[in-house]
Each structure stands twice: as C-alpha cells, then as structure tokens.
C-alpha cells in the first residue's frame, strides 16, 4: 500500500500524472449530459423575472393584479414576499456577504440599483405566458440619478446607493453614509523615503473595465417547495451546499429542508458561487404548489450577475541600479457595483505578494456604483492590480537596462519569505517558474517587424477548507467515490486517479459521483483552486480507511493478525505470500463484518499559493491598431499534476480569458446607465480563431501538505496575462498603453498620436 500519512508519496506512480479519458467525457461529447438548462420535472412551471430598465430608482409600487389574472399564470412574487432579515455576515462561497444584500440581489425591495435588477417574477404554464405576464406588471419607479464611474461615486455629491453604508477603515469614523464600504491598507517600511532614494522609478495610472466570466451555460434552476416545508432544488453551480445555505438563510428555512441536486455545469469561474434565482424559484413554487424553472437569458446573465470589478490603479515602484526593488506606493480603487464585493483584500495581498520588498504602502478602496454587484472571477481582485505592477516592472527593466526575467528573479519570493498576511511562504516555486520561462525557446525566439514580446508573473493564494469524500466498494470490489464538490475542471477524473493510486487498482475500476446535499457531508464550493487539493485529501483519506478495513477483512478470512497483512497493488498479501484480491475480499464482505466503505470530512489546511509566469508575442497592425497574439506560453508551479491534461487546460483557459480581458472585453453603458453590450456578439470574448495554441510548462514543486503534492492551479493563470499582453504591445509599439482593453482604436491612437 501507499502509506501517505504525513508525507508526499515519492512515486513512481501508476496513475498520478497519467492522462486517462475523463469519466464524464462520453456523455458530454454525445450531448447526453444533463446541464442546468436540460433539466425538467413533471408538472413544472416556467418562471420569468421582470428586471429594472433603470440604473437607479426607488420602487414606489408594483401592481401585479393584471399579471396574476392572466390565464396560465400560477404565481407572482415581488420583494414583499421575501422575509425581513437582520443584517448578518454569512459565508457566501469562499467569500462572505451580508444576507440582506444577498437577498436584495435576488429581488429588489425598496430600490433598484442597476439596469437588470430583479423586481418581480411570475410562474406560468408556458414560457410564453410567463413573458406575457411580465409585460402586464406595472412598476411605479421614481428614477434617481445614477453613477457608474467609481471615482465619481466617491465624491461627496455622488448619488448615494445605500443609506446604511459607512466607510470602514478611515479615522475618524464617518458620520455620513457613502458609496465607499471600505478602505484597506497595508504598509511596511518607509515607501516614500525608499522611492526618493531609488535609482529608477516607474510610475503610472492604469485602468481596467468590468469583465464577465463568460461561462457558456446561463444560470438556471428548478425548485420544488412542498406544503410540508421540504424542498428540492436542481441547479448547476460551483457549490450546491452554498446554494442550500444561502437559500435557507434568505428564506428563513432549516438547511435540512432543502435538498440541492448538482447538475452538470457549463463553466463558472467564480460566477456561480452564489445565488440569484433559487429563492425566487422557491417562493414561486410555494405559491403555485408546483415545481418552477427559472432560467436566465444571455442578456440577463450580463445585466444581472456579477462580473469582475473594474479598477483604477496608481502606483510608483522604485529600484536600485542593480534591479533590487526598494519601494512601492500603490493606490487602487475597485468598482464593486451595487453591493460590497470583498475583492479589495485580495488586491492588497496579491499586488506585491510575489516580490521581496521592504518598503511598501498599498491602499485599496472598494466603491459602489449602479452596476451589478461584482462576483468572484478566477483569482478575484488579483489580475487588475497585477496588471499595473507587472507593467511598471517592465518599465523599470527598460529604464535600468535589465532583462525582465532577471529583474524578477532578483526580487522573487522564496520559501520562508513572509507573505503580506505575515504567514511565511511554504514550498513555493516562483523562482523555478521564472527559470523555466527563461529556458523556454519562446523567450529567445526571433521577432519580426511590428512584433513584440511581453512577460509577466503573478500569484494566487489558493485555498483548502472543508470537504467530504467517500469511498466504498461494490460487491465485486470495484470502487465508488462520492464527492460533494461539483466537477467543473475534470475533478471526477482526478478523484478517480487519486483513489485508484491509493487503493492500487486500475483507474477504470473507480467511478466517481458528485453527491447531492442529502447524500454526503458538507463540501465548500469548487472555487479558490481548492477541489483537487482539499476534496482530494478527503478522498485519499477515505481510501486509506478502506484499505485498513480490507486488511482486517483479509486477516479475518485467513485467521491471522491484521498487522501481518500488507496491501499492495490492490491485493492483500499474507506473510507467506498468499494473496486475496480486492474483489475476493469485497465478495465476502457480508460475512466478514458488512459492507466496506469510509467517509472522511476534513478542513484542509496546508494549501500553498500558485505562481505563474506568462510570455506573450503580439503583432500590431499599424494601419488598424489591431493586436494579434502570435505565440503564448504559460508557465506555472502546479505542485504535482494529477491529470496533466486538465492542468494544462486550466493554464490555457486562464490565459485565454486573460487575453480577452487585455484586448477586447468591457461592459459598455449608455447615458441612462443601461448596459449596451449584453451578449456575446457585442461583448467580445476571444474565440478559437483569435488565439494561437497556448503552450504550457508545468513546473512541479510538490506541496508537502498533500499526499500527492497537489497545489491549486485554476486561478493563478489568469493573473499575468493582462500585463504580459500589455508589455508585448509596449515592446511592439514603444508605447505604454495603461487602459484596458487594448482595443484597435486605442492602439491606433497611441501608435499615431
């Protein structure tokens, strides 16, 4: 057996590091997999939501009588149907929020705060009738002035979104409410003095826009709330336990009364860690006495769900003549939309977290505006400030005449260095990533006219947290794994690999199910780059417990002591060499103590940050300003890749999304504060024809806190691309473009300006 207690298995491995076909692959490529929009139940009604056309307005009244009277309409819900709640900070996915804000995001009560804010909902016997009913609802709005720009929202005379939000983090505590929930700050040493004495200082003001996660599958759920108070919800999400907890809190229910069934998920990237539809569908279902389906259109996804915050970042970074960073001052503003978003903390921690820097002052402001409340998007809060920092580092390298990788290597954090939180880094691999980038042929390949190469590095903290994993044996000895973490990036394959490796059986002998909330213990959301690490640990520990039971059962069958039985390659081995296979032991389980299964719940600590270094080549068309990405390489410390193909996929996906952030994507609003590009035709994400094949380099610095050395990999790859692309454009044009996205008109103006 593989004894994994408290140390990393050294290998060689039978399964870890291999690339088997994913167990859910056939169902997905043949169209059989049941995603959220595919799901239906008998007697189901069709719901629809009326959304505000105004960016900011007081709701003076809602008249739903005509809608309720329309034949086929079975229920109508408004904010008045939601329970009154006391303010309470609750866990929301991996983040947290006030339960009142979470409830108001599902349905506005007194005011609408953005174009697309839900104001009423209906359930009817057909989708067409539901839409007709929406048109019959009369909402009396008092339209209020709105504000979209975060710097404008900080002014004293800005339209105020909330009467009860007072800025935390400033002295003296303010007596007037404002649109600024929080100022956060981090300071060490004397940044101003260090900058005054620096040999070179790079300074700039950078901006980024609201960008959406761009998952393919819109939000959808089916809810059925019975007269006895028990309910079921079917939804695709990043965490069905999170749906259960938040829906129960918003509706004042016991969690055991809500059973949430996970469906296949078509992407989330952080955007499906919370709730939007579920409490509304529940209330409609209770009123109608039937199951209700609510599904967003693409336009609703853009207008009413949470994107990543836009940002304004001003900074100065100084270095000595040899490239040693000596000081930095960073001020950033994150536009959180309608409700506090909790991304400022990670901006603070990730801004300079990958460099040793004795003197730094970082100040972050979270600001509310009349846009949908932001939500997590892959490494939430990190890419924006990283864009500014890594752009400035490139400028410093240019000023000092130092190779960009050499400059970063000179200052890169190493194990034992303190993180900005004060917790020392464990076995991290930023230096190894930089060295791998320098050694890659891409870094030294020749470039043509109008072409440029950029590089950037970055980190994401990753997470561990609570997870449950179960391993059981069928009567023939094949393995059944259950996990409470939705499979977004191939985790069923990685769980099967880790269970098979531990048990010593073929990969195909282990099948994995994502269990519903009534069928397995609590598991935190699939987010924070945590699932393969944390849920994987739970599955491995459960497999170890199953092995211990198998040894006992074999010993009982042989009438020898259990400690004389070894476990190797899926087989119990007696001291004299006699063997019993896992199938032979399982077949006799009923006669040796009963079924063989184990369940492990744990709170996984020991997670380590992921570090990434990206290299990007672009070609700029001087006539049109179009930026084409010619070549792209993503290097990352992945700990140890359980299923390398899916790890590479994470690196490629993060890079592709980051390239879109850099070149194309932005929310556009009209003068009334209405979103103008709420669809993929006008909100331009990269498509396959826009991008080259993204090369990946997996650097493996194993994590000692995981039996197979796993580190989270899903978020770090979206951190460096913004600056990698911008640095490449600077190299191609000689111009620093500080405002994202780098659209052709901006690039053309810079080149010819």
């Amino acid at each position: 057996m593989n004894d994994l207690s408290g140390k990393i298995a050294p290998g060689p491995f039978h399964h870890v590091g291999t690339r088997p076909v994913r167990p859910d692959g056939v169902e997905k490529v043949t169209g059989k997999a049941v995603f959220g929009p595919d799901f239906s139940v008998a007697g189901m009604l069709y719901g629809a939501i009326l959304r505000s056309p105004h960016a900011h307005a007081r709701i003076r009244g809602i008249d739903t009588r005509k809608a309720a009277a329309l034949p086929g309409v079975k229920a109508v819900v408004t904010g008045a149907d939601f329970p009154d709640l006391e303010s309470l900070t609750v866990s929301a996915g991996e983040s947290s929020g006030d339960i009142i804000h979470i409830s108001r995001t599902c349905m506005a009560h007194e005011k609408v705060l953005y174009d697309g804010h839900a104001v009423a909902a209906v359930a009817a016997t057909s989708a067409r009738i539901a839409q007709e009913a929406l048109a019959l609802i009369a909402v009396d709005y008092e339209v209020l002035p709105h504000v979209l720009d975060p710097e404008a929202a900080m002014r004293d005379d800005a339209p105020l979104l909330h009467d009860g939000i007072f800025t935390k983090g400033i002295e003296p505590a303010p007596e007037r409410p404002s649109n600024v929930p929080m100022k956060v700050a981090l300071a060490r040493g004397d940044a101003a003095a260090a900058l005054a004495g620096a040999a070179a200082v790079a300074a700039g003001r950078y901006t980024t826009e609201f960008v959406h996660q761009g998952y393919i599958e819109p939000h959808v759920c089916v809810a059925s709330w019975n007269a006895d108070g028990q309910a079921q919800i079917w939804a695709s999400s990043q965490g069905h336990f999170s749906i259960r907890a938040l829906t129960a809190s918003v509706l004042g229910m016991a969690q055991a009364d809500i059973r949430v069934h996970p469906l296949e998920i078509g992407g989330g990237f952080g955007g499906k860690t919370g709730i939007y539809l579920e409490p509304v569908a529940m209330l409609l279902s209770r009123k109608a006495g039937r199951p209700v389906r609510l599904a967003m259109s693409r336009g609703e996804v853009f207008r009413a769900t949470g994107p990543a915050p836009g940002a304004v970042i001003e900074l100065r970074i100084g270095a000595a003549a040899d490239g040693t960073l000596v000081g930095a001052e960073i001020d950033f503003i994150y536009n959180a939309g309608a409700y506090p978003g909790n991304t400022a903390h990670s901006g603070l921690i990730c801004a300079l977290g990958h460099y040793r820097l004795a003197n730094a002052r970082i100040t972050g402001w979270e600001v509310l505006t009349n846009r949908p409340a932001v939500k997590a998007y892959r490494a939430p809060g990190a890419p924006q400030v990283n864009f500014a920092v890594e752009s400035a580092l490139d400028d410093l390298a240019t000023q000092l005449g130092i190779d960009p990788i050499a400059l970063r290597l000179k200052n890169a954090v190493i194990p034992g260095d303190a993180q900005p939180t004060g917790v020392p880094f464990g076995q991290i691999g930023y230096v190894e990533c930089l060295e791998a980038a320098r050694a890659h042929p891409h870094w030294s390949a020749p470039l043509g006219p109008n072409q440029g190469r950029g590089l950037a590095g970055g980190l994401w903290r990753s997470h561990g947290g609570p997870s449950t994993g179960e391993v059981g044996l069928a009567e023939d000895g094949t393995g059944l794994v259950a996990a409470g973490s939705p499979d977004i990036g191939g985790s069923r394959a990685s769980m099967a690999i880790m269970a098979a490796e531990t048990l010593g059986v073929p990969y195909e002998q282990v099948r994995v199910t994502i269990a519903d909330t009534h069928s397995i213990g609590y598991s935190m959301v699939t987010g924070g780059s945590r699932t393969t690490f944390a849920t994987g640990k739970a599955v491995i520990e459960a497999a170890e417990q199953v092995i211990a039971t198998l040894r006992q059962r074999a010993a009982a069958m042989w009438n020898v002591a259990a400690d004389t039985v070894e476990w190797r390659d899926g087989t119990a081995i007696r001291a004299d060499g006699e063997r019993l296979s896992i199938g032979q032991i399982a077949a006799k389980a009923a006669f040796s103590g009963g079924p063989i299964a184990a369940s492990v719940g744990l709170n996984a600590a020991g997670y380590l940050p992921g570090f990434a270094v990206h290299i990007c080549d672009v070609e700029v068309d001087p006539e049109t300003g179009h930026v084409g990405v010619l070549r792209y390489t993503a290097v990352q410390d992945v700990g140890r890749a359980i299923h390398p193909a899916y790890v590479e996929g994470q690196l490629q996906g993060g890079a592709a999304q980051g390239i879109g952030w850099a070149l194309n994507e932005a929310y556009a609003y009209d003068a009334q504060g209405r979103m103008e590009n709420a669809g993929f035709l006008d909100y331009r994400m990269p498509v396959a024809s826009d991008l080259p094949m993204i090369d990946t380099v997996m650097v493996e610095v194993p994590n000692p806190a995981h039996p197979y050395g796993v580190k989270g990999v899903g978020e770090a790859p979206i951190v460096p691309p913004l600056a990698a692309v911008a640095n490449a454009v600077r190299a191609a044009t000689g111009k620093r473009l500080p405002d994202l996205p780098l659209t052709p008109d901006r690039v053309h103006a810079a080149v010819h300006g």
Partner: protein, 81 residues
Amino acid sequence: MARVVVTPSFRVEFPGDLAEFDIEAATVFDLVRRLDALWPGAAAFIEAKVSIAVDGELIGDWSTSLTRDSEVLLVPHIAGG
C-alpha cells in the same frame, strides 16, 4: 498568553483595540470565545471572514493548542473563483 495579530490589511474590519494584543487562551476555540466576549459578534464574524494561522501555519482545526509563545494571525478569507 498568546499574541494575536490581525493582518494589517484586515484591521479595518476589527475594533481598533483588537488589532494586536495578548490574550490568555488554551486553544483557538478558547481564543475565539474570549474574542467574542470582548467584541460581541466576533465569533460569527471570524467564522465567515477569517482564516487563522498559528505560528506561521494556516490551521483548519480550532482545537489547536496555544502556548504562551504562540503567535496567532487573523487574515482575511480570500474569495476564489
């Protein structure tokens, strides 16, 4: 007497006199109970928003013992995507 340090970036969320302080506590559970007595609501707040590191290591088990020399860091949960 454990030394408790609230990460500077996170002090905005805590009452001013609880930014850095010494406190008698046998375990992290005990520490959180005592913090809740000093600052009513602290326990719920910490459960929702805080990660705890003891002597340089993030811990998931609040039965972790604290000694006279323990340093406890309270750092923000960081949302993930």
